[in-house]
Symmetry: C2
Subunit: 389 residues, 2 copies
């Protein structure tokens, strides 16, 4: 089965000559290769781009979720509401930090959670909600924030797939207390395969993240007589609300940051191109009513992925024909988390998410990367038509 004409690529986009040049330049000239000027510039430019107060570049988006889970200071027994239909990194850091999970169902049309599906999960123990802008579609944050504020809940916005997505004129990731972004190989913009960003609103939290990110390093809280006395710097245990937090090493290198700075100039264009092609794809298959897409021709969707639900017919038979006859590798994505062994073994298998189940069991994710040619896109469309008949 490794002879796909069009595989589901592990990589979303190519690099321009200018981006390659920037990487080479940073390799050759950066004074330090980590925790230097490119990091600062990347974070500042990211803040400016999404409209965040504080942004911290990290080695990946899971690290951003780990930090959010740590900074939420959950207690044993606290409940966290998380979509059943999402990637595992959105969930397990909260389990690690002592919470138990209540799985929120998705809306069958948008494939993301809504104020309505979240509200059903709220109990007196609820402390936090993780909203995931899955597939690159921005969930209804204004309504969700209203609900969260009414119940005094922390909101983590997992915008790993939704960089540059706007919800009523505001960037995804900037509504909640924490915004999580990914520059992983699959994403619309990737910093050499791994990378992430955490944005926060609270200044007190922003102050301790550099220590949590970099092994507890900080300055001494007094003026040093010489730069080397009593040592070059301090290593401290950050505290929040009087409770200590252990540091980590979640640093992102300078070359990746230099590339990230450059890619921010192109992310809007990539998103536009992906959306335009998604429209072509969806429209070309409009007569096939049994294949249901989520069509959103606005900045609310960046079509990081292109997924459909087969509302009538045998999904597996379709997948099989696509793979074996057409040599096109479609995949299925976001196995309901409560079905995975990790969540079963940690007592998190209970869920009442009919839409999550229905969607996943009939979904098809097409091989839809930015680096596909127009010709390849056409090949997929024609093959899909043949396999639907």
């Amino acid at each position: 089965m490794n002879d796909f004409k069009i595989p589901f690529s592990g990589r979303a986009h190519n690099y321009t000559d200018e981006e390659v040049k920037e990487v080479v330049n940073a390799m050759q000239t950066a004074d330090t290769l980590t925790q230097g000027i490119y990091l600062e510039r990347f974070q500042q430019k990211f803040c400016d781009y999404v409209g965040a107060q504080h942004a911290f570049a990290l080695n990946n988006a899971t690290a951003a979720l780990e930090l959010a889970a740590q900074l939420a200071q959950l207690n044993e027994g606290d409940e966290v509401i998380i979509p059943g239909h999402t990637y595992t990194s959105s969930a397990y850091p909260f389990l690690k930090n002592g919470a138990s999970i209540v799985w929120a169902d998705i809306d069958l049309n948008t494939r993301v959670i809504s104020a309505e599906t979240i509200e059903r999960c709220i109990t007196p123990k609820t402390r936090l909600i993780v909203v995931v802008h899955l597939y690159g579609y921005g969930a209804d944050m204004p309504t969700i924030m209203e609900l969260a504020q009414r119940h005094n809940l922390i909101v983590v916005e997992d915008a790993a797939q939704a960089l540059g997505v706007e919800i009523k004129g505001q960037m995804a990731g900037t509504f909640g207390d924490f915004g999580v972004y990914s520059f992983h190989s699959h994403k619309n913009m990737s910093t050499l395969g791994e990378g992430g960003m955490l944005t926060v609103k609270d200044k007190q939290i922003a102050n301790i993240i550099p220590m949590l990110r970099h092994n507890g390093h900080c300055s001494f809280n007094y003026e040093q007589k010489y730069y080397w006395t009593p040592a070059m710097g301090n290593v401290d245990l950050p505290e929040l609300n009087g409770k200590p937090l252990f540091p980590n090493n979640f640093c992102l290198g300078e070359v990746e940051c230099a590339l990230g700075i450059k890619l921010l100039d192109r992310i809007d264009q990539i998103n536009i191109e992906k959306r335009q092609r998604a429209m072509i794809f969806i429209d070309a298959l409009a007569d096939h009513l049994e294949l249901e897409f989520h069509k959103v021709d606005s900045r609310r969707h960046n079509y990081h992925l292109l997924a459909a639900r087969l509302t009538n017919g045998d999904r597996d038979y379709f997948m099989q024909k696509m793979a074996e006859k057409e040599k096109i590798q479609c995949v299925v994505q976001y196995y309901p988390l409560y079905r995975y062994d990790l969540y079963k073994k940690t007592g998190q298998s209970k869920a009442k998410c009919p839409n999550t189940d229905l969607f996943f069991d009939n979904m098809i994710s097409f091989p839809f990367s930015h680096k596909l040619s127009d010709e390849q896109l056409e090949v997929i469309i024609l093959a899909t038509k043949r396999c639907l008949v």
Copy 2:
């Protein structure tokens, strides 16, 4: 104080044209930018180079220490022996995992711990020793392993600074249960500023590290009917000795791995060149008996750093003259960990390490990177002579 003629550089070496070309090639052609073929090749080549059974590339060496601490499955109250004179990442992951630390003193000549200084720290509660090959000098592993085996202790070898160092014909990092290596910006070989490797001996442990590294991903433990049923793969909770371990995301990107493969061809040469220059430096100052170096003209030392102890005279006065008059930035390194606020606040400030204290309070680390020119090296030597008078 930012006008140094020779600053203590945050970066140890430059990249050759061939190394730059390799990075560009991986950027342009890698099929996926993470968890792909370069990772496998880097790990295999690393195993071949150091002579390890299993190697796992990670986002940094702290991640390797975090994994070692997790895999050691320590219990509350267990004691871990760690040198007082080392970088903080060698220590705090073990605190995080519930252990308390007993600080081992260094040998004043070698600046690393020995079987003798370790033995003094052993109690019935001791479970594990972290041996750090600090400055790039290989500690006496055969003797330490004998001691560890006698007391049934787990041995973590922190060879972050000692890649390519040989101890009686065997590579540093391959004696203990865990070997930790770093490719950080400061190190003799750096994968774009961040990167690390963990080597292990135990096959059962080796089997679960890929899951611990990558969000718990694994295959289903049965043959799938189609590649997509019931999902593309499983997410599981790894178990060791019947106890679960939470996964992490400690992945290193493909471009870094491609570069790492290339750098392994050059690490021996870099180590040789650093050692040769260290000999020149040490010999040039041989008449100044008050400046005590650790001179080892063999593969036992790679001179990642070049540190000396001022046995007679005022260290701070020397440092000040070097900085202000000569504009050369020496630094002091490895503040005894028990003096940092993090270790005070976690109850780990008790220590009986007179050599650690004596060495640190009189040490000077010269700006000694591989990318220094011969002329710059000569400038530092002459300045040192002037400041010692």
